[in-house]
Symmetry: C2
Subunit: 344 residues, 2 copies
């Protein structure tokens, strides 16, 4: 691999001249430039990005560490959308994305600080779903810009995040069910460890409260984002001998699908007997029968926004700032209908 010095020799100029030709912003006579370029051409020279990065202290790269769980919870829509969103922002700005895996929650954090500390990227978008206060504190204490996808538990005035208002939109879903006449509504959450699970649950609670509807604690079940979890949630409710809810809100589509499978086994028809709302608008949502009414969460847009804020921060050489909510949207399909047993 030829270096800048080889090109310099070949063109009869000083290495710094070659550097200036390639980094663009410098006055170089047309003649010299041509000589350098042709020498580079002949030698097949391309500047070494690593050397450049070392010198300018910039990698043109943003990092993300893939949550170890994405096989499970995230497969349904999160990960591909996030990646696509990150690329959408990074690519046109000349940035690339550095991805690390992880094999546990703790390792996610380790990987993050590894990348940050070793300066392998100019910034990081934090995908972890369970950021504790310590971690956020440590993030703030280091100097590489970061933005969090999702809102951290504790409110720091100065950190940058983008999220969707899970509480609000889940409340909207539940309200939609209530307006259809449903009064017995179940909440099928994901992993209770995960922030979004609590937020959605709060939205559910709020909508029920506002409508003056009682919340039966047995109707709050955690399905850990798995199809089977949704399935078991229904049977669980059935087994403890409760009257069935007439509607289910599930915190992802996979669980909603599981809920529908269980209902079918119990000879309950969706949507005539029971309504079901899912979350995320995964690809299968519109193809399943009945087509699933679902809360579409704009992961791609969120990721794009996050990457934009991050790159802005990098380019301006300041910590990332700004907080943004991206709106979710309820997509009404065929799994919801007016409640037929409208108790007054």
């Amino acid at each position: 691999m030829p270096t800048i010095r080889d090109v310099a020799d070949q063109a009869g100029v000083h290495p710094s001249t070659v550097s200036r030709v390639f980094s663009g912003n410098a006055k170089i006579s047309d003649e010299t430039r041509a000589r350098v370029l042709s020498a580079a051409q002949q030698l097949g020279f391309q500047p070494n990005a690593i050397a450049r990065s070392l010198s300018v202290r910039r990698t043109e790269t943003i990092a993300a560490v893939v949550p170890h769980v994405f096989q499970g919870y995230f497969e349904d829509a999160f990960f591909p959308q996030v990646m696509s969103g990150l690329l959408d922002a990074a690519y046109p700005r000349g940035f690339r994305i550095l991805l690390s895996g992880s094999n546990s929650h703790a390792d996610e954090i380790t990987q993050m600080f590894q990348i940050l500390g070793s300066r392998q990227a100019d910034g990081i978008v934090v995908l972890s779903t369970r950021l504790d206060v310590d971690t956020v504190g440590a993030l703030r204490r280091q100097s590489t810009p970061f933005v969090i996808l999702g809102r951290p538990v504790a409110e720091y005035p100065d950190i940058c995040w983008v999220d969707t208002d899970s509480e609000r939109y889940t409340a909207e879903c539940v309200r939609y069910l209530i307006n259809l006449g449903h009064r017995r509504i179940a909440y099928v959450g994901g992993d209770p460890e995960v922030a979004v699970t609590r937020e959605r649950q709060a939205g559910y609670q709020r909508a029920m409260d506002e409508a003056g509807l009682p919340v039966n604690p047995n109707w709050i079940v955690y399905g850990y984002f798995a199809e089977n979890g949704g399935y078991r949630a229904v049977h669980h409710i059935k087994e403890i001998g409760e009257t069935m809810p007439t509607a289910f809100y599930a915190a992802n589509d996979l669980m909603a699908i599981g809920v529908m499978r269980a209902l079918r086994e119990l000879d309950l028809c969706v949507p005539t007997d029971v309504s079901v709302i899912g979350t995320n608008d995964a690809p299968e949502a519109k193809h399943i029968f009945p087509a699933l009414t679902t809360l579409r969460v704009p992961y791609a847009k969120m990721a794009t926004k996050a990457a934009e804020l991050l790159i802005d921060a990098i380019l301006s050489d300041e910590p990332a700032t700004g907080k943004a909510y991206i709106p979710s949207r309820l997509i009404v399909r065929d799994s919801t209908a007016p409640c037929k047993t409208s108790e007054v």
Copy 2:
């Protein structure tokens, strides 16, 4: 950010000693090591990965450029599975993944050679679906290891690829239909520009030929991997006034879903009137009604294998070698049934 020199000063040793402590493989007295480590601790030192990379000429990173089209064709399963597969291989080996976007087929190639030439990664797994001979030639001419996901058109003895035998497994699918008594079988391909489309078509052709069945050219339609493409394929066949095929093989599930939608509109029942086989086993395949019989293509495994071969090559400091076929598997669900109008 403290450097190795700061730590050296603090610990009262030479920078090279600090370096040796951190790079592991060097005999350092326990006492010195302890002093260095504690100094590093105090200063919050972490070695700079970029500087290290420059020095050792290795980045511990493998690259991939995301085909610009993945939104379209690839969304259905390809991309997330590939990413997951790459991470599965890279992560435990201490490698990270560098991702670049692209906005056209030409740009895909540009990005690839950019990364390669600027030494931003130690190797690359090539995802492009339309590699021409020139590109492969250029890849071979440069010195960074690469492995191709998918088999390149021309056979070079020395390049490394991993693929699934699309022709063979498509033939298997078609044979399965034939064994169910179907004789009029349509082939709904993807983008005819894409290698895999031709390979699958060849498999279709082969199975038909082997069974002595005529192939009606009107039954070969390209749906460009889109749901709508599958939908239109059916209507196209209908409109030219042909007798309907009794079975469809579609080169991805999205198109198969489109085919089923069109059939439903024509009041043809799947699978009693018409059988449908899709490809990829996308998440929606098992949830759609009727559950889709589909050829499951092991993208994740393929990507893992590719990354493994690549990393082996990197570590051994030689070009990547080896060719591997990963088997696909027909997943039989409810969209296929014996042909009821068995003509003898």
